[in-house]
C-alpha cells in the first residue's frame, strides 16, 4: 500500500515539473509577452531593452526557468504584473470567493436535486416525472453564459430584486476574517453584511447550480427507480413495514450511493463552470482571475500559478481516488 502511495507521489512531482516547464515555455512564446503587458502603448525600443534586461528575458530560457523554479520551491510565485501584489496574495484573495460560490451552488443542487429526483421516481410516468425530465434536459443544455445574462436581465434590469454584480453592496463596511463574506458577517455579528452577501449570492449560485442540479435530479431518479424494484424493498413491503421507514431506510439510503459519487464528480465541473459564472457576475474569484489574467493585460505570473494550482488539485484528487480504490479493492494493492 505504502509503495503505491510513494510511487504515485513521485509521479506527481514529475508531472508537475514537466507541466511547469511546459507552461513556462509556452507563456514566454505567446505573442505579446510581459514586456508589452507592462509597458502598454508607450513602449519605445529603449524602454523595451531596459525592461528585457531588468527582467532577465535576455538570458537563455533554461536559465530563466531555473530561476523561476528556484523561487517556486520557496513558495514565491512572483508578483502580479497588473497589481504588483504577490501572486500568492492575489490567489488567496480570490479563492474564498470561488469556494463560497461553489458551496452555495452545491447546496442548491443537492438540496433541490435529491428530493426532486426522488419525487420524480415515485411518481414515475406521471406529470411531475415528465416535467422533471424536460426541466433537467433544459438545465443541462442551456449555456451558463446565456443563462447568467438572462437571469441578470430579468432580475436586475426588469424587476430589481437582486444586484447585477459583485459580492457585497458598494460602501458596505464589513470586517474580513476568512474572506467568506457570509461567514465573516456571522462571525463578526455584522448580520447586515451576511444578508447582503447572501442577497448577492442568489443569482450567481442559481446560475452555477443549474447543471449539477439537473444531473443530480436525473441520477437520483434513475437510482431510486432501480432500488424500487429490488427484492429487499419488496420484502420490506411484504413484512408490512411502515412506508416512511421503507422510503427512508431502504430506498433513499441505498439509492444515494451513486448520487454521492456524482456529487463528487460535479464538484470538479462546478469549478470550471465558475469561470463563466464569475465573469458574468463580476464575482472576483478564481474564475474572474483566470479570465482577466488572460484577456485584460496578460498577467503571466498569476496565470502560471493558477494553471499549476489547477493541475496540482487535479493530480491530488486523482491520487486520492486511486488510493481509496486500493483500500476498497485489494487486487489493486497486489498489482
Amino acid at each position: 500500500m505504502l509503495r503505491v502511495i510513494v510511487r504515485r507521489l513521485l509521479q506527481l512531482v514529475v508531472t508537475l515539473m514537466a507541466l511547469s516547464a511546459l507552461i513556462f515555455i509556452w507563456l514566454r512564446n505567446l505573442p505579446g509577452g510581459p514586456i508589452e503587458a507592462l509597458l502598454g502603448e508607450r513602449a519605445t525600443p529603449e524602454r523595451r531593452a531596459l525592461l528585457t534586461k531588468a527582467l532577465g528575458y535576455d538570458q537563455p530560457i533554461l536559465v530563466q526557468y531555473g530561476k523561476f523554479m528556484q523561487r517556486v520551491l520557496t513558495g514565491d510565485f512572483g508578483n502580479s504584473i497588473r497589481s504588483g501584489d504577490a501572486v500568492t496574495e492575489v490567489i488567496g484573495r480570490a479563492f474564498p470567493a470561488t469556494i463560497e460560490l461553489a458551496v452555495a451552488a452545491l447546496i442548491i443542487a443537492i438540496g433541490l436535486g435529491v428530493p426532486l429526483g426522488y419525487l420524480a421516481a415515485r411518481y414515475h410516468g406521471r406529470l411531475l416525472d415528465n416535467l422533471s425530465i424536460a426541466g433537467t434536459l433544459l438545465g443541462i443544455s442551456i449555456p451558463i453564459f446565456f443563462l447568467g445574462y438572462l437571469l441578470k436581465d430579468v432580475f436586475t434590469q426588469n424587476i430589481h430584486w437582486f444586484p447585477p454584480s459583485g459580492r457585497l453592496s458598494t460602501g458596505l463596511d464589513n470586517t474580513e476574517i476568512t474572506g467568506f463574506f457570509v461567514l465573516d458577517g456571522l462571525l463578526t455579528r455584522e448580520f447586515d453584511a451576511t444578508a447582503d452577501a447572501l442577497w448577492h449570492l442568489v443569482l450567481p449560485a442559481v446560475t452555477l447550480a443549474t447543471i449539477p442540479l439537473a444531473v443530480i435530479v436525473r441520477i437520483t431518479r434513475a437510482s431510486v427507480l432501480d432500488v424500487l424494484n429490488e427484492d429487499y424493498v419488496r420484502t420490506a413491503e411484504a413484512k408490512g413495514l411502515r412506508h416512511k421507514t421503507i422510503r427512508g431506510r431502504h430506498i433513499l439510503r441505498n439509492a444515494l450511493l451513486p448520487v454521492v459519487t456524482t456529487i463528487g464528480l460535479q464538484t470538479g465541473a462546478l469549478l470550471s463552470g465558475a469561470v463563466l459564472t464569475e465573469k458574468v457576475y463580476n464575482w472576483g474569484g478564481l474564475g474572474t482571475l483566470i479570465y482577466d489574467s488572460i484577456s485584460g493585460g496578460r498577467d503571466y505570473p498569476v496565470l502560471q500559478a493558477l494553471i499549476l494550482l489547477a493541475a496540482l488539485v487535479f493530480v491530488v484528487v486523482n491520487l486520492l481516488v486511486d488510493v481509496s480504490y486500493a483500500f476498497i479493492d485489494p487486487r489493486v494493492r497486489v498489482r
Partner: protein, 556 residues
Amino acid sequence: MQAGRLKAAVALAAVAALAVGASGCAKSERDGDSGGAKTGGTFVFAGTSNPKNFDPIFNDDGESFRPIRQMYDTLVQNKPGTADLVGALAEKWEHDESGKVWTFHLRKGVKFHDGTDFNAAAVCFNFDRWYNMKGAAAQSQMIYYSDTFGGFAKNEAEGVGKPVYNKCEAKDDGTAVITMNQYKGAFPGAFALTALSIASPDALKKYDADTVKQNGDSFEYSAFANEHPVGTGPFKFGGWDKAKNEITLERNPDYWGEKAKVDKLVIKVIPDENTRKQELRAGTVQGIDFPAPADRKALSGEGFQVLDRPAFNILYLGINQKNPKLKDLRVRQAIAYALNRQQLVQTKGPGGTKVADEFMPDTVAGYANDVQKYEYNPEKAKQLLKEAGAEGLTLNFYYPTDVTRPYMPNPQEIFTVLANDLQAVGIKVNGVARPWNGGYKDDIQQFGKQDLHLLGWTGDYNDPGNFVGTFFGRGKVEFGDQAMTEMFDAISKADATVDDAGKKAAWEQVNRDIASKWLPAVPIWHAPPAIVVAKNVKGLVASPLTDERFNTVSVS
C-alpha cells in the same frame, strides 16, 4: 436525537429570519444613500480595471490616474473641459528667455493630507526624487517622466538620453525655480501631467516610496503607493478593498480649492462593459466610462447623461515603408485619396466625430488651416497608382481585436470599410487580425510585419510634440524605420523653438509638409469619447484629456 434536530431547525429558522430582517435593513440604508441633500452622500463610479497603485510617478494608465487625480494636484492644471492651462499648486509661472529656467509662484496655505505644509521645498523634493530615482525596476516604470525629462541622474539603460532636468531651488517658501539643461516644447503643458503630481515629502520618506522591488516578472511597490498615498487633492485616500475591488476616497475638508460636494467617492472596478451598463441601470453606480457607440442613444433615451468629451485624439492609418512600393509618395497619396473618410465618420464614428486632416486636433497651437486635404477621389487614386507603376498592389492590413480604444471604438468595422475602399481602387487587401494584448502592438511596433495598420493616440497635454513628435519625430519600426531625416529635423527644430509665435509657425509648416511632402500615414478621424452619469448627478465636467475631477460632482 430529536432534541438535536429541533435545535438545528430553530437555528436555521433564526438565521433565515435574521437574514430577511437584516436584508430589509441593508436595503433601506442603500436607498438612503442615493436620496438626500445636494451635498454629502456618495458618488460611485465604475472603473474598467484595477489601478496599478497610487504613486503617480510610476503610473501611465487612465484607471490608475482616475483616483490619483482626485487625491493629488499638479503645479499647473488643465482648465476643466479644455486642454488649456490654469494655475493649480502654482498660481503663476514663467520662464526666462532661454526657456531653461522656470519660476513657479506657489499657492500659499496649502496643506498635504497628512497635515504637513506644501511649499517650494516640497516641490523640489518631488522633482529631485524623480530625477534621482535608482534601479531598473523603478526607472522602467516612470514612463511619463522619461518621456518628458529624458534621462535620470544615473541612467540604468543605454540610449535613454541626456537628462533635461538640472536642478530645483526653493528661493523662499512660495517660489520654486526649476532649471533645465535645454528647452523643450513639452513645457509647461507637461507640468500638468498627472504622473508629475506633487506628493507629501514626509509620507514619501515615511512609507519608503522609492523602493520598487522586482520579483519574477513584475514589480512590488511601496506602502506609500499601495496604502498611504498623500497629496493635496480634494479627496483623501480612504481604502482599497481588493477583495471587493473598491477604492474609497473621502472628502478633504481642508482642500485649498473648490471643496468636494460628496462625502465619499467610490471607484468600483467592473471589467465587463455590459455589467457596467447594468449596474448603472440598476442604480448601484452613478457613472461609467467609454460606453460603446451603439449604446449611446439607448442610454440617453433612458435619461442618462451621455457627456461627450471634446476629441483630443487621432486615429490614423499607418503606412509601413519597409514595403518598397510604399516608399513612393504617389502610392501613399493614392491610399489617402481612395479612402472615403467622410462616409466612415458618418457610419462608424461616435456622434461628433470629425474627419482628420492632420495628426493633432485643431485646438492645439500649430494646427495649420491650409494643409493639403485628401478628399475622396477614387479616380485620382487609380491614376496615381498607375503613374507609380503600382497597379495590382497587394497589402497586408493589420487591425486589432479584443479592444476598444477612445479613438477606435470598433476596429473591425473600421477595417472593413477602409479595406473595401482600397479594394475599389484596385489595391488587394489581405486583412490580418491580431489580439491587442496578444501580439498586435508587437507585430506593429517591434517587428513591423504590416503594410497598413490602425493605431492612434489620446493626447497628454496641449502641444504638437505630444502628437506629431511622438509619431514622426524619429524613425520607427511602425513606419518602416523610414529615413525621412528632413521630417525629423523639422520636428526637432519646431520643438526647440522657444518663442510662442515662432513655435506656432514652425509647427504649422511641419503639418503642411507632412500632408503634402511626407505623408507617413493617413489621418482618419478625431472621435469624442463619452462619459455617462445618472440623471441625478450634477457638476461633472467632461475633459478632453479624460482629466475629470470629481470635487464638483454632486448627487441629489
